[in-house]
Symmetry: C2
Subunit: 385 residues, 2 copies
């Protein structure tokens, strides 16, 4: 096991009807900016419920945070924050709203050009205080409700930032609030959670037995409840298991002390930025391809994954690995996702541009070992056609 | 899944050589009381190493915290804290030292008779601030390094307390510091971790799939590495897996949103208080007996435990459950523990006194359902003979 630090101060308030706890969680007499997305929190009444339980605070609203939140949109929220001396940010939504809110918290406390927070890690480190954040989660997927990272769209790319200052103080996770989500968004959330998990698990053996088994527990749960929670969106327990798995897949727990390989997310971000493919869809396309190309490097963990997650024990090593990759693709397809670039009309001729974007964003040494060069990324994209 | 709150703010610093991080974790210019146990931290140089990396603080020492720490001992530390205006407590040791330090932090900030903190929950809730605590863990077992509870011996009993104010600010977990522990203490630590896990898992089904699988991951890991880390104490990875499992078995993670049954610990505390049997040993005696007596109530989870943890799939339901209980006893025995009261010269005539102690401590409705009355506790003790 590798040395590690693990520190996650976010308070989770989980379950049915927990929105009422907001009144005890948001500081009294605070000036709160409530941030949300495209209007579904209004349409389904979540926003109204939130505002109803926050008497005694001065409330401001900022709606319209889009999927893959844009830097320019978020900077408008930063103006509001400064204008109204906002001292608490409440994100009501999914990963994009939560990530965007984290960025707003940092940018409002950064003296330079806020874009530097996305292009230069030193700039993030220079921020020493932020505005506290709470979240009300309406889409289980990114784990942003219990971690210190985010992704923001800037200058045609999706850029990652991270700071311990943006851990939410609290997150309210009521699975019932997710019942109204379209099937496709739930499928994307399942896939995002699945990929977060394998990115911290299918690497090379590192004697993280607790971490491995916890990762396998998330994967097995997703396989058990994935289709069911799409088909029966109001089945509370299935949805609750998805929501809690999504959080635990990216809150630092399963990645502590073990190697991590974020290749899938990094290449996926480029596909979303260039072609507008949903984040979860990009992951479903890329993960099987990455495993095909890097079968040798990931051999031992792929065999472990085949056995413990898919119960595949017959055949040669290669046959078992191939079967596990096929099972994974099939699982994504059963959730309604495609697993090839061509199904989005992306062909061999488009690959150069993706590789150039990776180069522009200095993503030239990806994976758990740093050995996924641009040439190997190209190979992965070809395998994903 | 049940509704739950989960909040664990302790920072974990895990791995080889992490003691040097203390200098960045203990506030500069603080007045630190270092608390420890019976001298092994002196004998093996851990205390010296700790003091060496804390320049610039005024350091005071309080040694001699015994296993099952006594109220009267801890109150002497409280006097020191007040006398020297201590503003940071550093526990260097195992569960007893950490639990004792938590109690000192509370007692030093309680206006009444500190014994009330052990006999009246309202008294604990009345404490609104404490002295921050850090820990350097030398014995993996209790999980105290990352939770908000403790156990203190008072008036012939072992009494439990809990307050979110006593979460350690940080805990340093260096598996190497545990190499010098006697085999028996490691065995006790493995058993304690195992029992913490089953107490939050072998109850009744509650659709906590992530929680169940994480619990099973801890149990499977303990079975894999338990004997090995006793036989080869300097095998880093085996010991690191034990240490990290011990923490995760009782940091709130696996118990969030699922039923819990602390019968084993509660009856075990009486056996330790009355007969001086080690804490871990009491658990090894009681757990198989509890499962035999409450087989019907725990049927579904015992079958799940049999299959997923011990891979027992053949036979009738009762046969599979019996086999799983036998496997559990055998595992404890292979670690060197006994699984019967009689091996400690405790007979049928002693049971009345144990039941009376449970009654005195108002432990008359134990288990996940509250249905373990004194009569059933007696039955369990008889089954443990």
């Amino acid at each position: 096991m590798k040395n590690f630090n693990y520190h996650n101060p976010t308070q989770i308030v989980f379950g049915k009807g927990r929105l009422t706890k907001l009144d005890g969680l948001v500081p009294k007499n605070s000036r709160v900016l409530v941030l949300y997305g495209g209007g579904s929190v209004k349409k389904y009444g979540t926003l109204e419920k939130v505002l109803r339980v926050l008497p005694g605070r001065e409330i401001f609203e900022f709606g319209g945070i889009e999927p893959n939140p844009q830097f320019t949109t978020l900077m408008k929220a930063v103006v509001l924050v400064k204008q109204h001396n906002i001292d608490f940010l409440l994100a009501v939504g999914g990963g994009s709203v939560m990530d965007g809110t984290k960025f707003v918290a940092l940018a409002a406390n950064y003296d330079g050009d806020a874009a530097e927070l996305l292009t230069d890690r030193g700039s993030v480190a220079a921020v020493t205080k932020t505005i506290p954040i709470g979240t009300v989660v309406t889409l289980p997927a990114t784990g942003s409700e219990m971690n210190a990272g985010g992704v923001v769209s800037y200058a045609g790319g999706k850029l990652v930032f991270s700071s311990p200052l943006v851990f939410p103080v609290f997150s309210i996770l009521d699975p019932v609030l997710t019942y109204t989500l379209p099937a496709k968004q739930i499928a994307n959330g399942i896939i995002d959670t699945f990929i977060h998990t394998v990115e911290q698990y299918v690497t090379f053996p590192a004697e993280g037995r607790f971490q491995d088994r916890t990762a396998e527990g998330i994967l097995l749960t997703l396989i058990e409840i994935g289709k069911k929670t799409i088909d029966e969106p109001t089945d509370y327990d299935a949805r609750a298991n998805l929501v809690w798995c999504a959080t635990n897949a990216l809150n630092g727990l399963i990645g502590a002390g073990v190697p991590q390989d974020w290749t899938t997310h990094m290449i996926g971000h480029e596909l979303t930025a260039m072609f507008g493919i949903d984040h979860g869809e990009t992951l479903a396309i890329l993960q099987p391809a990455i495993w095909k190309v890097r079968k040798q490097q990931k051999r031992e963990k792929l065999l472990q994954y085949a056995e413990r997650v898919w119960n595949i024990t017959a055949g040669t090593d290669d046959e078992r690995i191939d079967a596990a990759i096929a099972k994974t693709s099939q699982f994504f397809q059963e959730l309604g996702a495609s697993t090839s670039l061509s199904s989005y009309d992306i062909g061999e001729n488009d690959i150069d541009a993706v590789v150039q974007a990776l180069e522009k964003h200095r993503l030239t040494k990806l994976s758990e070992t740093g050995e996924v060069t641009l040439a190997i990324s190209r190979e992965i994209l070809l395998a994903a056609l």
